[in-house]
């Protein structure tokens, strides 16, 4: 009975070996056997090296000492995990930061844009400069007149009445009058 089973298995095997696809595969494997052998040898070397490294207490101790010389503890590991968790957010922030830096850098290197902005700024500043200049001139002219006039002569009532006709004085007085009106109005509202 056992012989019969063996003969059956052998017959199946021979049948399969007659299959051209199997024959082709076997032939291909046989051709590549030297490469496989090299591969297996490399794996074997790596396993041996790992075993030796693991067993080499001197090296183990050296790296152990090296690691303990740094402040690496559970806190560090927690921090690493935390960092990893936040990496997507940090990446977004960093990306924005880099873009801002690059934008600022591009502006600094862009002479045309700098010139454009500085021209515009000077245009806005020009009227202010003119006004300041006008005021300065006014003040210095008043000072000049004060120093050149003979101020010993007293100002009488007639002179003050003459001032009242001056348009500049009228404008100032009108402002004062408007201010008094507003103050009175506020006072009435608060009563």
């Amino acid at each position: 009975m056992q012989d019969q089973n063996q003969s059956q298995s052998l017959s199946n095997l021979l049948n399969q070996l007659q299959n051209p696809e199997i024959q082709e595969s076997l032939s291909s494997i046989l051709k590549k056997l030297p490469e496989y052998e090299k591969g297996i040898e490399s794996i074997n070397n790596m396993v041996t090296f790992s075993k030796d490294l693991f067993n080499d207490q001197q090296i183990g101790q050296k790296y152990d000492e090296l690691l303990t010389s740094y402040n690496l503890d559970f806190k560090t590991i927690h921090a690493i995990i935390g960092l990893l968790e936040n990496l997507p957010k940090l990446n977004t922030i960093l990306d924005q930061f880099i873009k801002i830096m690059d934008f600022a850098n591009a502006i600094l290197q862009d002479k045309q844009s700098i010139e454009y902005v500085s021209n515009n700024v000077s245009q806005y500043a020009e009227p202010l400069k003119e006004k300041t200049q006008t005021f300065k001139t006014f003040v210095s002219e008043v000072k000049e007149q004060m120093s050149s006039n003979d101020n010993s002569e007293p100002i009488n009532l007639f002179t003050i009445l003459k001032w009242l006709k001056e348009p500049a004085v009228q404008t100032i007085l009108q402002y004062i009058q408007a201010g008094i009106h507003v103050l009175n109005h506020e006072k009435e509202r608060n009563i």
Binding site: D102, F103, A106, Q112, S113, V117
Partner: protein, 397 residues
Amino acid sequence: MRNSYKIVIVGGGTAGISVAAQLLRKSNVLENDIAIIEPAYIHYYQPIWTLIGAGVAKKEDSGREMSSVIPKGAVWIQQSADGFKPEDHEVLLKDGTVIKYEYLVVAAGIEVLWDGIKGLKEALGTKEVCSIYSFEHITYTWDTIRNFKTGTALFTYPMTPIKCGAAPQKIMYLAEDYFYKMGIRDKIQVEFRTAESAIFDVMKYRMALEKIIERKNIDVAYHRNLIEIKAQEKIAIFENLSTNTIEEIKYDMIHVAPYMQAPRFIATSPIADANGWVDVDMYTLQHKTYKNVFGIGDNTNLPTHRSGSAVRKQVPVVVENLLSIMRDQPMNQFYDGYTACPIVTGYNKAILPEFNYQKEPVETMPFNQAIERTSLYLLKKNLLPIMYWDGMLKGTM
């Protein structure tokens, strides 16, 4: 010349340059494998053309050499595109060259039809016929405005889609403000004739602009489409789109917003929809038929206002989605139709509409942007050009 690239971008305008710059920032391996097809020598920052036409910006500030804005790592093919063979992954150039691509981005802008309105092309730049849509004639626009003393100043808006749809209004508000500052406003009748049915699509800004128009005493009529200019007689002929009748207006100066359409080489190609625009999905910006093709900017059939700010929001969507399909990953970026158009309403004020596909305001600033503000004018005049040249075109904004 090399004839095959991983990514080919048709158009070296705002969209094309920004897409190339962002792609190169995101993926170093694309260096020297992105080609930009663009025939022009000069790249223009067009949003400033309104201010040039109003005499507050210099013409030379709006243009830079194309070579200076092509991102490092992109190859500039200085040719005009002439057609597409998307089945074969090919772009055809005017000189007969064929450029092959793995992925294509179509960013060719919009075409101005100067001959669309009878008499316009011949009259433009003469006899008080001006337009800020023509770089050549922007200074003539300013000359016309500053030399205008009395009569009817007419401003038009056409029935076709146009780029920067608020520009015809902006130049009108600026001109009106100039007449006012010169003390001649009461001698001038300012008129606006538009083919649109309202002054603005979004209710919040429409209400703000209607108040401004009322304050400025501008005469506005809707559903009026300019079809002819008789420059010699200074007569503008409009079609009343509501009654299908013809109306004539005698003017003393006219500012024209010309008809515009999709570039012809796109309209006649397989990538176009029935109206000639690049047929893209309105959210992913991927072509509806050719999955390795994306469309961006003015040449697409996206149902939003065509503007540089719209492009600014479309660029990251195209870039991320393109990189996703290159990596066999699902696309995860979606464009919500965002667009913005700072509307200058005078020489030191502006409003800033920002909205999406639903015509809902989506404002960025912590204040009401429908109120005229000097800060928004300063933003438009001083900050946006810098953001454009040094941010958008460098791929950081």
